[in-house]
Symmetry: C2
Subunit: 123 residues, 2 copies
Amino acid sequence: MTSDAESGEVLMLGYMNAEAMAKTIETGEAHYWSRSRRCLWHKGATSGLIQKVVEMRIDDDQDAVWLRVAVEGGASCHVGYRSCFYRLVPVGDAAGGALAFVETSKQFDPKQVYGDAPNPTQL
Amino acid sequence: MTSDAESGEVLMLGYMNAEAMAKTIETGEAHYWSRSRRCLWHKGATSGLIQKVVEMRIDDDQDAVWLRVAVEGGASCHVGYRSCFYRLVPVGDAAGGALAFVETSKQFDPKQVYGDAPNPTQL
């Protein structure tokens, strides 16, 4: 998973294969493996929203990586928000309520950045 | 993924099935599905290190959840550290270097907390 090094906000959860992890370590810029597009994914290559790795950590059984990054342009979610986690799920006493937006405005217009390029993510 | 609501530190990456997610929403305490033990896992049921959900967020395509929690007892990793992500991977100019410990002391003694209970996690 990837969080903003400064604010601590979790930006996205991505998948890395061995190649993506090696590229991330070598370049200091986040690379993932896109399972939907089946290709190595240099985050920001299209949008310019590169994630510079400030710190990379690995967990106890070494099957998960936590990236702390600085994002050029300030957004990581392809729909235009800063974080992919832009909605709250009510819990406990509030359980059953509607999802609430945490981010109220987008950082960029996806149409302008990606044009008509297809995105396999189902919203 | 689960982070400390106060410090922003990522504590662990866990898997939730529908039941675990429902229980988390209903009780306000983190539940996961343990894939190795194949059972619903109420985090802290054995150790007492319950994760109280301060905020739950869901991502754009609704296949990942970010929990911000307060941990009673201050630790979430079964080997005794605060976070499972207690080691740094050197990147960029430092690539190829050895893993470095971020946490230098454990919060609890796993032997004392779990006794001889087997743990399927391969370190």
